[in-house]
């Protein structure tokens, strides 16, 4: 997406005032912040030059439908309909528009002149970029912060994201977005005959094509082999449809005859060898308590012609037709297996070839992996032994608990951290002066003292006084829950509800920006380089700007709420105070040591 931003997309299209309108032919030019439409006929009045930030959304027709339409809806209710010559063109534009709208939305309508992603001082892959943009789009808070600090120039892009590495990874590897499964719907091969002519039409959409490729590896392989060298895509699907039609007539002999004449058609008509091979590989992985193939391997009773013939005779068919027989049940099983496996590839559906290739790749990888998996073996054995146990004859083996699922661990730890700051700020920092330069001897002595003390008193059992522990835990728990209020994640019970909307939002915004700033501030200590020094200074400045704003809020609210607001604001102020104190102390230290004062101080 990042490189697309640099692009300009130019496509032929017709502008239409409504869907039925024949439209004005012209050229549609898309740049990252606006689109322009120039009619071929320069005298035509239909000219457009619209910024994307005024575009609210876009709609488009499905691939394979009658018209390749793209409909851009404007904020104020107007819309622009373009018809393209073909779907690929439309799709390019569609993608571009989608990203452009997202970007303009992200940049915020209030700062239209700012491009969404500022100039970077690092090389980023397109994927990385996309990821960040997506995150920003999904999380408006984050977006606000990003706007405030990165675009405001307090933090660099890299610094901003450095603290969110986890978030980036998490979103993409550990917590994949829920993907839409394949439709559990067999492509009905029932052809649509129109009754009058002898024509039979089949309807193929990219979704169906994906399904066909997934269910019939031979077709996929054939596609990769034949298209576009030997035949065009259209010919390919025509042929495929013909084969399907032949199957649907259930006339095996006719199918065989046709296949004999046309070797490409034969590929579709014959049984799928790849599936057979795959099945033979997979059967080795099967749970032995299910393995009926092994059973057949042990059955000497049914040597050919021994035992009583089964009542269900297969219908007799010449062996030459055997490869062309295909049962519906086989198809059914294969279909269900594919659906069960889910959407294994993550490719845009429009491009048939890349879909086929991606599927072939994943299949290949999967089979290669299967071959050498000892782990799977072990897992299977464990599973069997678990399955054999009769569960109600014994006490449940594991305590019946569900694993704790913290929806977003970040919330928890962030609040903890903020907590630590606030408590540190008012209790510990002032109370004890830490002695930093300790000689070895001193350290030893104090340790010795401790040890002898313990020797004398004996270890308290438990090591921590339970009352104290209880107190600490209680305090922590309370703090966490009160933090929840601050974060406003739990609006139902929050005091924030009672505040006027503007105040609330302002508070939340300040809170999150303070958090962000503090995070960066503290992470820049100890200051070892000039860079960190300037960063800390910058951050401190930014924080000191917020400080008076908080005071303002406190004063601006109505008197009855003032107490609550001040309660909310207090920890923020404390945290800031602690940061300032630390900064000043550090500056003094620094100047004392080097005799040189940093800029501005």
């Amino acid at each position: 997406m990042a490189d697309k931003q640099q692009q300009v997309v130019v496509k032929r299209a017709r502008h239409k005032s409504s869907v039925k309108d024949p439209g004005t032919p012209g050229v549609l030019k898309l740049t990252k912040d606006r689109f322009t439409f120039m009619p071929n006929d320069p005298s035509s009045p239909v000219k457009h030059n619209v910024e994307f930030r005024t575009i609210k959304g876009h709609k488009f027709t499905k691939d394979g439908t009658k018209q390749a339409l793209l409909n851009l809806t404007q904020d104020q209710g107007g819309n622009y309909i373009f018809e393209f010559e073909n779907f690929p063109d439309r799709n390019v534009c569609k993608d571009f528009v989608a990203s452009a709208i997202a970007l303009s939305g992200e940049a915020g309508r209030t700062v239209p002149e700012k491009s969404a992603v500022p100039i970077q001082d690092e090389q980023l892959s397109a994927a990385e970029m996309e990821r960040r943009i997506k995150l920003l789009q999904e999380d408006s808070d984050l977006q606000k912060l990003h706007k405030q600090f990165v675009i405001g120039g307090i933090l660099s892009e890299a610094e901003f994201w450095a603290t969110r590495k986890k978030l980036l990874e998490q979103n993409y590897s550990r917590r994949p977005k829920q993907r839409v499964a394949l439709k559990n719907d067999m492509w009905s091969t029932k052809p649509l005959a129109d009754g009058q002519s002898n024509r039979v039409t089949f309807n193929l959409t990219p979704e169906i094509i994906l399904q066909i490729f997934a269910e019939k590896p031979a077709v996929r392989q054939a596609y990769l082999n034949f298209v576009p060298n030997k035949m065009t895509e259209k010919e390919f699907w025509t042929k495929y449809s013909r084969a399907e039609y032949l199957h649907s007539t259930k006339n095996v002999i006719a199918a065989a005859a046709e296949a004999a004449e046309d070797e490409e058609l034969a590929v579709f008509l014959k049984q799928d060898d790849m599936l057979v091979n795959e099945a033979r590989k997979k059967i080795r992985q099967v749970d032995p308590t299910l393995d009926m193939e092994a059973d057949e391997g042990d059955d000497y009773m049914h040597l050919p012609d021994h035992g009583l013939p089964r009542n269900d005779n297969k219908d007799v068919l010449d062996s030459q037709y055997e490869p062309y027989r295909r049962s519906f049940s086989q198809h059914l099983n294969q279909h269900a297996a594919v659906v069960l496996q889910g959407r294994v590839i993550d490719v845009e559906l429009g491009d048939t070839r890349s879909v086929a290739e991606a599927l072939a790749r994943t299949k290949h990888a999967e089979l290669a992996k299967d071959a050498s998996d000892v782990y799977l073996d072990k897992e299977r054995l464990e599973r069997i032994s678990r399955m054999t146990e009769i569960e109600d004859l014994q006490a449940p083996r594991d305590p019946a608990v569900a694993p704790l699922s913290i929806k977003d661990p970040r919330d928890y730890f962030d609040s903890q951290q903020a907590n630590a700051f606030s408590t540190l700020g008012d209790t510990v920092s002032g109370a004890k002066q830490l002695k930093c330069s300790v000689s070895t001897r001193e350290a030893y002595c104090s340790l010795k003292e401790c040890i002898s003390e313990i020797k004398f008193q004996g270890l308290t059992e438990p090591t921590i006084n339970s009352e104290v522990a209880f107190k600490v835990l209680n305090g922590l728990a309370q703090n966490i829950s009160s933090n929840k209020y601050h974060l406003g994640r739990n609006p139902n019970e929050s005091v924030l509800d009672s505040l006027p909307k503007i105040t609330r939002e302002e508070l939340l915004l300040h809170w999150s920006s303070i958090q962000e700033l503090l995070k960066h501030f503290w992470s820049s200590y100890p200051i070892t380089t000039k860079y960190l020094l300037t960063k800390a200074t910058k951050l401190k400045d930014a924080m000191s700007q917020i400080y008076p704003k908080l005071q303002e809020i406190k004063e601006s609210v109505q008197s009855d709420l003032r107490h609550q607001v001040s309660l909310l604001v207090q920890p923020m102020l404390q945290a800031l105070d602690a940061a300032f104190a630390h900064y000043d102390a550090d500056v003094q230290n620094r100047s004392a040591r080097s005799g040189e004062r940093p800029n501005g101080f």
């Binding site: 559990n184 719907d185 067999m186 009905s188 099945a279 033979r280 997979k282 059967i283 099967v286 749970d287 032995p288 308590t289 299910l290 393995d291 009926m292 193939e293 092994a294 059973d295 057949e296 391997g297 042990d298 059955d299 000497y300 009773m301 049914h302 040597l303 050919p304 012609d305 021994h306 035992g307 009583l308 013939p309 009542n311 269900d312 005779n313 297969k314 219908d315 007799v316 049962s327 519906f328 049940s329 086989q330 059914l332 099983n333 269900a336 297996a337 659906v339 069960l340 054995l381 069997i384 032994s385 399955m387 054999t388 146990e389 009769i390 569960e391 109600d392 004859l393 014994q394 006490a395």
Partner: protein, 757 residues
């Protein structure tokens, strides 16, 4: 837990035990004490297998001076695996509580196909080619040649196994097939031959029925089992069918063609040997004169399938003079093939007894009964002499010889049926000659005679008095146990009408009625929207299933069903079915579950469990009657009527209902489990049919559930599922204990146990 049953301390690997398990063990113990056979019926879902295993192993442990061997027969390999993993659990428990004294050796035995670890051999297509590929590497003559010429390939695993000779033993433990293969790989020994060898020494052997019942296999595998063995046939409700199948052969045109090819090939080989190594043929002749059909003891790797007739029936005589010479024997075979070919030309169905058939062979082909009887052994000897390793190519001639030997050995209990075409497809000529056995007691007789205790057990053995008659034995204990239930965890229903109130049935005249098909589809559609997790549907036959699924597809019903659940289906291809089952389980483990379409009497119905969330509902579409126009079935019915005075209709109903009960019984595994069963056919509401269902189903079949329509059934299903979702007390309510702890058992003692049941 451990507890006493009379003088035996039973080690049971769970903290609690069901009362019926305890009672089952008591009965079993009595049978073992009496050294007699027994017949025990206990509903599925009551932990039969573990009760059996723990009693018999404990029994063996309590009598260390006179250790009994335990032979456990399962119908299928996957059941074997299940049993072995239960045994593993038990063995671990016993080791914990008894220490090394509890050590036993238990192993499963299967064919080369499932045990071979030589990659070149095991990659072969089917069982027969694996066997042949193995022989090509391990036959004694091949190895002799290889000793001289290192370029001839042998199997390194087999060579290593042979080299380590007596050291090649399995340490005590429980070995599944997988474990055997792993151990073989570790040591570099052939697991198949290792297992074959260890079977003689093992305390517990788990293998398939046919290793005892089919004389062809039993002859080489189970020859040397000691008399002090306890043989268990689990899931034995079909045992009569297995027995008669073991002794049945059919011959088609293809068989005859193949046999002719085989004869030609052998005659070429004979010519070649005559030119190069005439001494060998002469040696064989001399051996036959001395009355030895086979060389004294064959190396294990040469052993082929044994004589198809039962060991007691094989005459200990010399091979008759006129087939001792190889070329004479071949000409006899040629005449026999020619004769059968002639018989297959018939245009009418013919049926005769073995005696008449043998007489006619004698007059028309000049082959007497004795020659027929020795056909198989003579062929075996000849093939060894000719050093034929690709045995998979010679299955056709083997079939002919099997047939000849059987028809020459038995005079009653068999009939020969020649059909020029299949009844259902009269326009396609497909002549077949069938030798079918009707007497189930023949095949199992040697088992009853050889072993001191034979236990026949299953979830459905009702009517329990029928089995001793069919199998012709006298059990010392014959009991049927009921299930003590904590709650009504099964919910059988009989559905007689569709939502449009029209009757549903798979009766011949209604079967292909589109209305019935639609009603069945609607029933399933209702159910998939109500029932969570897995649903299993059983149909009466493959062709019926194919037809109805196709018609559901065409009418769009299938599509609607698929909006609720994934659909899997059993096919005639086992690989595909296995994968479908595997996927079905995966689908039930996650998401909205799945539907599995299967066939009563099919492979899935025979041994796959659909317990817990893998099956919350079973729908039995129709009554799984056998194809009643089949000549074989008619002949068997006639035999049953004449010998046991069993009425045809009764037997057919009994057979159909035991299949249906077996199908629906697969949903329950323990009392914590629950499931519904729908019998969707109006004929189930009739008393004569219904009453043949096993007691544990009947006792839950309420009168209100006997005549339901689709919407009523859906309503009941909803109610039932809601009820099952409530918490309950596992140990039982209202003074009736359904779960016993160690303390309970002690308190109870053995005296008042009787009152509980």
């Amino acid at each position: 837990m451990k507890f006493q049953i009379e003088d035996v301390t039973v080690y049971f690997p769970y903290d609690n035990i069901y009362p019926e398990q305890y009672a089952y063990m008591v009965e079993l113990k009595r049978a073992l004490d009496a050294k007699g056979h027994c017949l025990l019926e206990m509903p599925t879902g009551t932990g039969k297998t573990i009760a059996l295993l723990s009693l018999i192993t404990s029994y063996a442990l309590s009598k260390p001076s006179n250790p009994i061997k335990f032979i456990y027969c399962t119908r299928t390999v996957h059941e074997m695996e299940k049993t072995l993993s239960e045994l593993k659990l038990l063995h671990n428990y016993q080791l914990q509580h008894l220490g090394p004294a509890a050590k036993i050796l238990a192993l499963g035995l299967s064919s080369r196909k499932n045990l071979c670890i030589n990659p070149t051999v095991v990659s072969a297509e089917n069982r027969d080619s694996v066997d042949a590929a193995c022989r090509k590497l391990t036959a004694s003559w091949v190895r002799e040649l290889a000793a001289e010429n290192p370029r001839i390939p042998t199997c390194s695993f087999f060579e290593n196994y042979e080299k380590s000779a007596s050291e090649a033993i399995l340490p005590p433990g429980v070995y599944t097939l997988q474990d055997l293969r792993a151990y073989g790989k570790l040591k570099g020994w052939c697991p198949y031959f290792l297992a074959r060898h260890m079977v003689q020494l093992a305390n517990v052997v788990v293998y398939s029925y046919q290793y005892l019942l089919d004389p062809k296999v039993a002859g080489i595998i189970s020859k040397e089992m000691q008399r002090e063995s306890v043989v268990v046939f689990d899931e034995a409700h079909n045992i009569d069918n297995v027995c008669i199948e073991a002794l049945s052969v059919s011959v088609r045109m293809q068989t005859l063609e193949g046999a002719t090819r085989n004869i030609n090939r052998m005659s070429q080989e004979i010519d070649r040997f005559k030119a190069t190594d005439a001494g060998r043929l002469r040696a064989e002749y001399n051996r036959l004169v001395e009355g030895l059909a086979l060389r004294g003891d064959l190396p294990a790797s040469d052993a082929w399938l044994a004589n198809p007739a039962l060991p007691n029936d094989i005459l200990k005589e010399a091979v008759p003079g006129n087939i001792r010479r190889a070329e004479h024997f071949l000409s006899v075979l040629r005449r026999l093939v020619q004769y059968i070919r002639g018989r297959l030309q018939t245009e009418n169905v013919e049926k005769e007894g073995p005696v008449a058939f043998v007489a006619s062979v004698n007059t028309q082909a000049g082959i007497d009964q004795k020659m027929l009887r020795f056909c198989y052994d003579r062929l075996h000897s000849l093939m060894l002499t000719l050093e034929i390793s690709d045995t998979d190519e010679f299955l056709h001639i083997q079939t002919i010889c099997d047939f000849a030997t059987l028809v020459g050995t038995y005079t009653r209990g068999f009939s020969i049926i020649i059909e020029p075409f299949d009844e259902r497809m009269p326009h396609i000529p497909d002549p077949v000659l069938q030798l079918c056995c009707h007497d189930a007691s023949l095949a199992i007789k040697p088992v009853f005679e050889r072993f001191q205790s034979v236990v026949i057990t299953s979830g459905t053995l009702s009517p329990i008095d029928l089995y001793p008659r069919l199998l012709n034995f006298n059990p010392v204990v014959s009991r049927s146990f009921t299930m003590s239930l904590t709650r009504d965890c099964i919910c059988p229903m009989v559905l007689t009408r569709g939502s449009d109130q029209l009757p549903v049935s798979t009766k011949y005249d209604l079967r292909s009625d589109p209305g019935v098909e639609k009603n069945y589809g609607k029933l399933l559609l209702e159910m998939v929207s109500v029932v969570p997790d897995g649903i299993v549907c059983f149909f009466v036959s493959y062709s019926y299933m194919d037809g109805i699924v196709n018609s559901w597809h065409e009418t769009g019903l299938l599509k609607e069903i698929m909006q609720h659940k994934l659909v899997f289906i059993e096919t005639q291809d086992v690989v595909e079915t296995t994968l479908a089952l595997d996927n079905y389980r995966k689908a039930c483990d996650c998401g909205r579950g799945a539907v599995f379409f299967s066939v009563a009497r099919g492979k899935v119905a025979e041994g796959i469990d659909f317990d817990r969330h893998y099956g919350r509902l079973v729908i039995m579409f129709g009554v799984p009657f056998q194809y009643t126009l089949s000549r074989i079935l008619l002949a068997r019915l006639e035999y049953l009527r004449d010998t046991f005075q069993i009425k045809e209709g009764d037997f057919l109903t009994f057979d159909a209902l035991r299949q249906a009960a077996q199908c629906v019984g697969r949903v329950i595994r323990s009392k914590a489990d629950y499931g519904m069963m729908i019998f969707a056919d109006k004929r189930y509401s009739r008393h004569d049919k219904r009453s043949k269902l096993p007691g544990w189903i009947l006792s839950h079949l309420r009168d209100a559930h006997l005549n339901l329509s689709t919407d009523m059934a859906a309503h009941i299903a909803r109610e039932f599922l809601r009820k099952m979702a409530q918490p309950y007390d596992k140990t039982g309510v209202m003074g009736k204990k359904t779960l016993l702890s160690e303390a309970d058992l002690e308190k109870m003692g053995n005296s008042n146990l009787g009152e509980m049941f």
